[in-house]
Point group: C2
Chain length 364, copies 2
Amino acid sequence: MLRCVLANRKLDLPPGVLQPREAVLRMAPYSPPTGGRAGKLRLDFNENTVGASPNVIEYLREHLSADGLAVYPEYGEIKQELAGFFAVEPDDFILTNGTDEAIQVLVNTYIDDGGEVLLLRPSYAMYRFYAEVAGASIREIPYRAQKLAFPLEELLDAIRPSTRAILIANPNNPTGTGTSRAGIERILEKATNAAVLIDEAYYEFSGISALPLLNDYPNLFVSRTFSKVYGMAAMRLGCLFSQSGNVEFLHKAQSPYSVNTVATLAAHAAIQDRAYIEKYVTEVLAARELLYVGLEKLGIPYYESNANFVLFEAGKRAIPVRDELRRRGVLVRDRSYEIAGCVRVTVGTRDQIRRFLGELEQLW
Amino acid sequence: MLRCVLANRKLDLPPGVLQPREAVLRMAPYSPPTGGRAGKLRLDFNENTVGASPNVIEYLREHLSADGLAVYPEYGEIKQELAGFFAVEPDDFILTNGTDEAIQVLVNTYIDDGGEVLLLRPSYAMYRFYAEVAGASIREIPYRAQKLAFPLEELLDAIRPSTRAILIANPNNPTGTGTSRAGIERILEKATNAAVLIDEAYYEFSGISALPLLNDYPNLFVSRTFSKVYGMAAMRLGCLFSQSGNVEFLHKAQSPYSVNTVATLAAHAAIQDRAYIEKYVTEVLAARELLYVGLEKLGIPYYESNANFVLFEAGKRAIPVRDELRRRGVLVRDRSYEIAGCVRVTVGTRDQIRRFLGELEQLW
């Protein structure tokens, strides 16, 4: 349908199609495969595999009203509550429509056309996505081949005075690896002209956070999400933290009602039930050990992870293995286009990992 | 806190604040006053003043589950259903996080830094907002002083080959006025290089839509929302329609999960209950007549509207009138910063308008 020869800027659009921006023409379509997941064991999107706290559903059933749905969202109360929960001030963060909007707002606030953005590779696809939409000049630093380790020295070497943003997931998806708080401080100390985003979507599994550094570094931005351990991916809620002087500008670049009211109600209930989250994290960490042992028994190499997912090496069989697992009702993600031969499996409960290992053993 | 002298680009930021983009520095903060509305008669945001259909709440209570909340949104089924409802194909639109995201995606798809965007003035604030974030070159055409009529000839005169987008609400907020389908066709025929957005947030009250023109004009984009007559502002759901060749590019410039699952469940239930919407529209149109009569009795000039809100002239008393109404439990919006002396009142039910008129009479 579309042929795009970049060298000579020849762009053949079908007749009658309105010419989009060149940045958009160049972008690869991003269409994550999310249809038909119902009824399967969903180890493909790093979600909470048992669901949100039952308290969340109970609270929503009680508090949803036809009148309430008609009213534009109000964020005052939930911001107070979340500030208490995260031990920051209400002026130190914005609510976002998932982490995706956090990335978008940060990029829109700091990245002009041609502005330099540093990313690590492979990483969460949306960093590149929003940087491309903004017309950024993107440089990528690869994770180390050895254990897919965080390339701290390489990243530090790449930082220049012209670097305007550095977007990092810690721990990273899909590698599962990360850096220490000291590593983050070294980045923050060098990249003084850049907005440094530490995306902590998987923080609860690693226990390493940059949030306590917030008051020390005016170039630090931290994002958190309710889509992973909290089991609320359907609701789209995240938070983007920085010093209040920066948050003022983030707020200016954000549309006023991007987070829906039901997500704020759900978050209110979710943060009351810390025990549920702690129990789930404990279960996942135990299941991850079980997964390592199971993979070793099968002689399948894997990468140790600080998050609720693990990459294992299926070699040339990565896609057939994914497809065969799907036929057996178990969903995993092929990542071989990023890391040769690798498949990513989300760690759920021990029972779920036993089922996964059982199916894998049969087809291996 | 922030001084911004544009003439000589002098920008004094507080120490330790990271320098944002100049486009963001220049923007005025947009903070709609949405706190503390509970328990008051909300005639300030053009919402459905009685709430969503009870079927929506019933459906949500039945279909929300802790497991379902944990799963990333899937849009296949609801897109099929909405395509049927709007009499288009599923490839002819994207779901959006309210109309706000429709505007944002359109701007991100077509407007490069410095790209020319035409707006009408006054109009919905988010057109200017997203155009400014994108660094667009904005030209504004004022509504006519006489009856705040749609400035069709003036807009046609302003269109140039370099015009890349025209963002129009029809009917317009806050004027309540609009143009005919023939007027829209004249714009589409002249602005062949531009993405022409017809924002039909208030369509159900005017009955005039550009949607049937979709197949005829590859530069036409139409947005609809569930935030107004459907009583679902809390949920954040809209649709952006265009020919499928354009939608392919809109899709590329949109993040994959911007609409939450609960909104899609609510939409499924909402479109089953057409009778509820028709009844509410009939009620609002009757209440609008009642409002006109009441304002005339009080000798208060107003502008005739094609939507569920009406501007009336309070002169120098605009802000005091708004404040006094608030003290009496009735919320309206001051628009005197846009149209001298004007206050906007949302039209709800006849009972609600009787209450509004009663309070207004006492303080007038």
